[in-house]
């Protein structure tokens, strides 16, 4: 059952258009991640759904009802902000109690509700502290607790892990899905970190250029990106690209990279002759082959448990390969290797539109 729906939503400030004609539906209990770079309007979208700002046009519906005329305090939404937005003059417990008090709950129910959610988020020992006495991690959990306290149907989380240190961010990334599922709310989670998006989402809506470029499961986004832009945003190191063209002949379909023929799936035959952008993910580059694209290793840079090689073909095309650090025979700088590309990580995009070509 659709809990939240956005139809043809647009927002402009004067002549500056933030986004235009956004459509999105979220089912009850679903976690939808809104992913995009800074300045793409993700926070503004959340504000529109919460009701603290008005859209220029379009309809927002919660639980099937159009909420355009409903003030934020009556929308039944819980929200956690990037910079926490805790009330500085109230204790952590009072902060968390706010939605319960606003709903007019009796004092003992308020206390019980606050303790329950504080225990869940492991901040029950700092409930009496003022916000300025809390660490960043505790502030973030207090903000989350406040959003969850009244068990809202819709949860809006605006990049809650952004201002939290790396270690804690990692811990929360593992804990949050369980927490959010337990709450049963429909969640809209905003982030710029693709790993966070893939880790938390049932579906990801990629916001770019004022539109949702792709809305799909993490698997679809990563394995079948709709555009070159989406492919670039997911993956570290980023996908390798080269501008070339598709050619078909008796041997099959190929592109020419660095003067060398690189075979691609025969399914692309329909697009033979077109100008394309060839893309291959670094983890799909195999450098242990005896034949393929000739390249020299320019630099070797470790990246956590993987080793990234910067390679260059004689014609000057630079590309990256990402190997597990435990792999045998990692080449040294200066070594000459042959690269082969696995089909799963290879994509062809239309050079003009950036859209991925299907075989």
């Amino acid at each position: 059952m659709t809990q939240l729906s956005i139809t043809s939503l647009s927002k402009s400030y004067g002549s500056f258009k933030v986004f235009d004609g956004l459509n999105l539906e979220a089912k009850a209990g679903e976690i939808v991640v809104i992913f995009g770079g800074s300045g793409t309007g993700k926070t503004i979208l959340l504000r529109l759904i919460a009701g603290v700002e008005e859209p220029s046009s379009g309809v927002i519906a919660i639980g099937g009802h159009d909420v355009s005329d409903i003030a934020p305090e009556h929308r039944g939404v819980g929200m956690a902000f990037q910079n926490f937005a805790l009330f500085p003059h109230l204790s952590a417990a009072e902060n968390i109690a706010t939605p319960l008090r606003a709903a007019g709950a009796a004092e003992d129910k308020v206390k019980a509700g606050v303790n329950k959610v504080a225990k869940l988020l492991k901040i029950d020992h700092v409930l009496t502290h003022a916000p300025r006495e809390l660490s960043n991690g505790q502030k973030q959990r207090t903000a989350l607790a406040r959003a969850l306290a009244a068990e809202p149907q819709i949860l809006l989380l605006d990049d809650p892990l952004r201002n939290v240190d790396a270690k804690l961010r990692f811990e929360m990334r593992l804990e949050l899905p369980r927490l959010l599922r337990q709450s049963g709310a429909t969640v809209l989670y905003v982030t710029q970190d693709y790993k966070e998006a893939m880790a938390l989402a049932d579906r990801i809506a990629v916001l770019a250029g004022g539109k949702f470029v792709q809305t799909a499961t993490p698997e679809d986004i990563y394995m079948r990106p709709a555009t070159l832009g989406v492919a670039r945003l997911f993956g570290d190191p980023s996908i390798n690209t080269a501008e070339t063209s598709l050619e078909a002949d008796g041997a099959g379909v190929h592109v020419t990279l660095g003067g060398t023929r690189v075979q691609v799936a025969a399914d692309y035959k329909a697009h033979a002759g077109e100008a394309v952008t060839f893309g291959v993910r670094p983890e799909s580059v195999d450098v242990s082959a005896d034949s393929g694209l000739a390249a020299e290793v320019v630099a070797v840079t470790p990246l956590n448990e993987r080793t990234v090689l910067l390679l260059q073909t004689p014609s000057g095309w630079e590309f990256l390969a990402s190997l597990p650090s435990s792999a045998a025979d990692i080449p040294e700088p200066g070594a000459k290797v042959f690269a082969r590309f696995a089909e799963a990580g290879t994509h062809i995009f239309d050079r003009q539109t950036g859209e991925r070509l299907h075989g």
Binding site: H74, M79, F81, A85, F87, H89, A102
Partner: protein, 285 residues
């Protein structure tokens, strides 16, 4: 470890003393004058040794002034009452009007917003004399001359701009997200304003209120022209001591001491907030 030499320390002490003497001398002198008779004051050369008398203060408080020409009724305590009434009421009105207005200027970007705000501030720059003549004519035709209502209204020219500019800065400092959070939690705009915006801007409101009080209290020219003896505050009331039979310096001095005491006490008590409030108003906008 401080590396200032003894020479620098003594020099610093001397300079500070000189500055203090320069600023405090008039007040100290007036205080001494208030404890002397007219004769002692006018004696040449002036001497620091004298027998203090409190006759000047008693005269002001009881309202009876004995001069060479006989007894004179003094209305000084009435003037004190007027000062208190005018200042307190003006500040109250300006807070009720100014705080929501400051919020509007801080949060809502409307056309000409900055222009209106600056115009309101410009009232502080303009000399009151510019508007006094037309104002007195309007007052006469409106029947507002020598009324408390009229004076409180005019005093808004002094108080409102201060409230607006100082409190606006404090409201701007509150992250809008905090107010959004309170609303989303289920509270109306008014509840948010009452429970979140005002408490968080309280230091600014207090500082602005204090400053407005001090400026209202010190105002001279509006009450002088637009009111008569029974409604005039202490600033004007001191003129009464310039009598036909001579200037009563002793009483003037005592009147001055009594009239600066409230504002001096307030300023000393709240000086930290005043500095904060003043610099906030200066830096923002």
């Amino acid at each position: 470890m401080d590396h200032t030499s003894t020479f620098e320390k003594t020099l610093r002490g001397v300079l500070i003393t000189l500055v203090l003497v320069f600023f405090l001398f008039p007040i100290v002198w007036i205080f001494l004058m208030s404890l002397q008779t007219n004769e002692t004051i006018l004696r040449i050369p002036p001497s620091l040794a004298f027998t203090p008398i409190i006759d000047n203060y008693t005269a002001l408080i009881t309202g009876q002034l004995r001069t060479a020409a006989g007894s004179l009724q003094l209305n000084f305590m009435q003037n004190m009452f007027n000062s208190v009434l005018l200042s307190v009421c003006s500040v109250a009105v300006s807070l009720v009007l100014g705080v929501p207005a400051a919020y509007a200027f801080a949060r809502f970007k409307f056309r000409l917003g900055e222009d209106i705000a600056f115009t309101l501030l410009s009232f502080r720059f303009a000399p009151a004399l510019l508007v006094l003549l037309p104002l007195s004519l309007y007052f006469k035709s409106l029947g507002l001359t020598n009324t408390y209502v009229g004076l409180i209204w005019v005093y808004q020219l002094i108080c409102l701009p201060l409230i607006l500019w100082i409190v606006r800065g404090y409201f701007e400092d509150i992250s809008p997200d905090i107010e959004h959070a309170y609303r989303i939690a289920g509270n109306s705009w008014w509840q948010t304003f009452r429970k979140i915006s005002i408490p968080l801007a309280k230091p600014g409101i207090a500082a602005a209120g204090l400053l407005a009080f001090i400026f209202a209290w010190n105002n001279f020219v509006f009450a002088l022209i637009l009111a008569s003896a029974d409604k005039q505050p202490v600033t004007v009331g001191a003129l009464a001591f310039v009598t036909a039979s001579g200037i009563q310096y002793g009483q003037i001095a005592a009147a001055i001491i009594i009239s600066i005491t409230p504002t001096l006490a307030l300023a000393l008590y709240a000086q930290r907030y005043l500095v904060e409030g003043l610099s906030m108003g200066a830096v923002k906008g």
